[in-house]
Symmetry: C2
Subunit: 346 residues, 2 copies
C-alpha cells in the first residue's frame, strides 16, 4: 500500500480542529487515538455505519448521528430532512429495515419557534414517507451564543433480515463498484446557500432515504459485499475506507462517474473535487463482478438509482489504495484528505 | 385540579427561551405545542423516559438524551459520567436492563484533546462499571464560538423483562411515594462549580447508574406502578408529571424528604427549593401501599438506596396536583415551575 502513497508529514494536534469532523484522515486519526482505545469492543471495531446487535433473538442495527449543518435551510431540504434521511441511510446501507428513530434537539436561546416548527414538520414528513416512527426524544436549551441555532441528533433502530451479511472488509479483487447517481449535489447546494453563489443556485441537495433502494439491491440475491452512503468526504473517502478495511485496491474510472454540469462547473470554479463532496442520497455498492448487471438493473428500476453506473473495480494490486483512471489514460491516487474543504455539511 | 392552582398568566413566546429546556411548564408546553402535534404516535404519547418497542419478539426500551452541562467537570463527575448514567437511568426506571449505548459528540474547534480524552475515559469507565457497551458513535466539529466546548448525545437500548409493566398513568390513590436518597446534590454541585461558591464546595454530584437498584426493586415482586429519576426540575417536577398522568393528587411530607445540610444551607442562601433541584442518581418509586415496607427494605439494602424513605402518598383529592405538608402542619402547593432556576444542569 505504502509504495504509491506520498510521504505526508505526520499530523498531530493537541486541540480539536475542523478537520477532526471531516470524515477524512484527521477524523480517522481521532477515532483511532481517542475513541477506539477507550470504547473499543468487538461491535464498535466492525467500523460499520451501524452496530449490529443480537438481542433476544432479534437481529438489530443501531446507529447515531448529530447534525450541525449550516445554514439550517437549503435548496432541496433542511437540517430536519438530513437528520431523518441520514440516520435511515446509515441503517439501510447495513441492510437493515429502519423502524424507529429518536430525536434530540439542542436549541439556542432566541431561535424563532417558527424555525423549529418548520424543521420538526420536515422531520415528521420525511419519517412518515419512509415509514419510520420517531418514538423518543429530548430537548436542551443553551444560552444565546452557546450553539449555532439548532443541532439535532437522531439515533435509529432497524431490523436486519436473516441472511444479510454486509461488512466493509468483505470486498475482494475483481468486485465491481457501483454508484447510484450523480455526486456532489448536496455539498454544492449547501455551499451555494452558505456563500450565496449564484452560479450554483440551481443545484438542490440529493437528500433522500435509501432504504427501499437498498432493499431492492438485496432482493436481487446478488453477492453484495458492502453498501455505503458517501456522505462526509464523498465517494473518495468511502472508497478509501473500504479499500483499507478489505485490503484491496480500488480503481475508479473518471469518465464513468456521473457529475451534473452545474456541480462540475461549481467545483471547477472553486477548486473542489466532486469526488470528495458530500452526498446525502447516493449509495455505493460493492458486488461480485458476475452480479453487476442484475444489481445495476435493480438500481435503475428505482427512482433514486435511475442513473446508476459501474464506476470502478477492486483489485489485488495496491491493497488499501484508491486510484483514478482519467480520460487521458493516466492514473492518479485518490487519497484520503487530511481535512475537509466543506465543513458542517450535515 | 384547578381549584387549588393559582391563576398564572398564560406564557407565550415566539422564540426559544432557557425555560424551554427546564423540564418545567415551558418544556411541557414546547412538547405539547411543537413536538407532539408533529411526531405524535402511540409510542411517543406514552410519555415515558423511554420508548417501549416490540421487535421480532424482543421487548426493548429505547431512549436518548443530549448533555450540555456547564462546566464540563464538577465535583463527583463530568459530562461523560452524566451522558452514560443519565441514559442508563432512563432505561432503568422503565424496568429495562441497559445493554447498548451510542455516543455522539459535537466538539468546538479548539477544545483541548486532553479534555476530550478525560471525558471519553470517564464514559468508558462508567459504561464498563454498569455493564453496558458503547457500540456506535459520531463526531461533528463546529467552528470556535459555535458551541460551548463539548456536547454529547447518548441513546440507549435495553431489554424489558417479561411481566414488567411500568407507566406514569398507573399510580392510584393511597399508593406510596418512595425516594432513594437525599435530593439536590447534583444541582448544587454544578452551581458551586459554576459560580465558585465556597460554602457549597463540599457537595458532590450524586451521578450514578440506577439499573441495579431498579432491578432490586422489581425483584421484590411488589406492585410497582412507576419509577422515575428526578433530573431536571427535581422531585417536584417528577411528582407533578405523575400526578397529571395518573390523575391523582400527591401529598409529600416535608419532614420526610432527606436533604443534606450543605445542600439545604446552599438552597437557603440562594433562595432555591431543593425539591426543584436536579438529581442524577436518585429515584422515585410509586408503589402499592401494602408493598411499601418490602420495597423500602430492598432499596436500603442497595448502596444507592441506603437512605431511602417514604416521602408521600397519592390521593383521590386534587387530581393532578402536588402538595407539601410542612413541619408546621400547613399545606402548600408544589407547582410545576414555568422555567428553571438552574439551567444547563445536565
Amino acid at each position: 500500500m505504502t509504495t504509491l502513497a506520498c510521504p505526508l508529514p505526520h499530523v498531530e494536534t493537541e486541540a480539536v480542529c475542523m478537520g477532526h469532523g471531516s470524515g477524512g484522515r484527521l477524523s480517522a486519526e481521532l477515532f483511532r487515538s481517542v475513541f477506539q482505545p477507550a470504547f473499543g469492543n468487538p461491535i464498535l471495531d466492525q467500523l460499520g455505519d451501524q452496530a449490529l446487535l443480537h438481542i433476544d433473538g432479534a437481529h438489530l442495527a443501531f446507529t447515531t448521528d448529530s447534525y450541525v449543518v449550516r445554514p439550517l435551510f437549503f435548496r432541496g431540504g433542511n437540517i430536519g430532512s438530513l437528520a431523518v434521511h441520514g440516520t435511515i441511510n446509515d441503517l439501510a446501507v447495513g441492510g437493515a429495515t429502519p423502524l424507529y428513530l429518536s430525536a434530540a434537539f439542542i436549541l439556542e436561546e432566541g431561535l424563532p419557534l417558527t424555525t423549529l416548527r418548520q424543521v420538526v414538520a420536515t422531520m415528521e414528513h420525511c419519517a412518515a414517507q419512509a415509514g419510520v416512527q420517531i418514538v423518543t426524544g429530548d430537548t436542551k436549551v443553551v444560552e444565546k451564543g452557546s450553539c449555532d441555532g439548532l443541532f439535532i441528533n437522531t439515533a435509529g433502530i432497524g431490523v436486519v433480515p436473516s441472511g444479510v451479511r454486509l461488512a466493509p472488509n468483505q470486498v475482494r479483487p475483481n468486485d465491481a463498484v457501483l454508484l447510484s447517481g450523480p455526486i456532489g449535489d448536496h455539498g454544492i447546494a449547501i455551499l451555494a446557500e452558505r456563500e450565496g453563489l449564484s452560479f450554483a443556485s440551481e443545484v438542490a441537495s440529493d437528500t433522500a432515504p435509501l432504504h427501499t433502494l437498498c432493499a431492492d439491491v438485496l432482493a436481487t440475491g446478488a453477492d453484495i459485499r458492502c453498501m455505503r452512503d458517501p456522505t462526509r468526504g464523498g465517494v473518495a473517502s468511502t472508497c478509501n475506507e473500504i479499500a483499507q478495511s478489505s485490503r484491496v485496491g480500488i480503481v475508479l474510472e473518471d469518465a464513468a462517474i456521473p457529475v451534473r454540469p452545474a456541480v462540475r462547473g461549481a467545483c471547477e470554479l472553486l477548486g473542489l473535487d466532486p469526488l470528495y463532496i458530500a452526498n446525502e442520497g447516493r449509495m455505493v455498492v460493492f458486488v461480485a463482478a458476475a452480479d453487476t448487471d442484475r444489481v445495476l438493473a435493480a438500481m435503475r428500476a428505482h427512482p433514486l438509482g435511475a442513473e446508476a453506473r459501474r464506476i470502478g473495480t477492486a483489485t489485488e494490486n495496491n491493497p488499501g489504495l484508491v486510484t483514478m483512471r482519467t480520460a487521458f489514460g493516466t492514473e492518479r491516487i485518490v487519497d484520503l484528505l487530511t481535512s475537509d474543504p466543506l465543513p458542517r455539511i450535515c
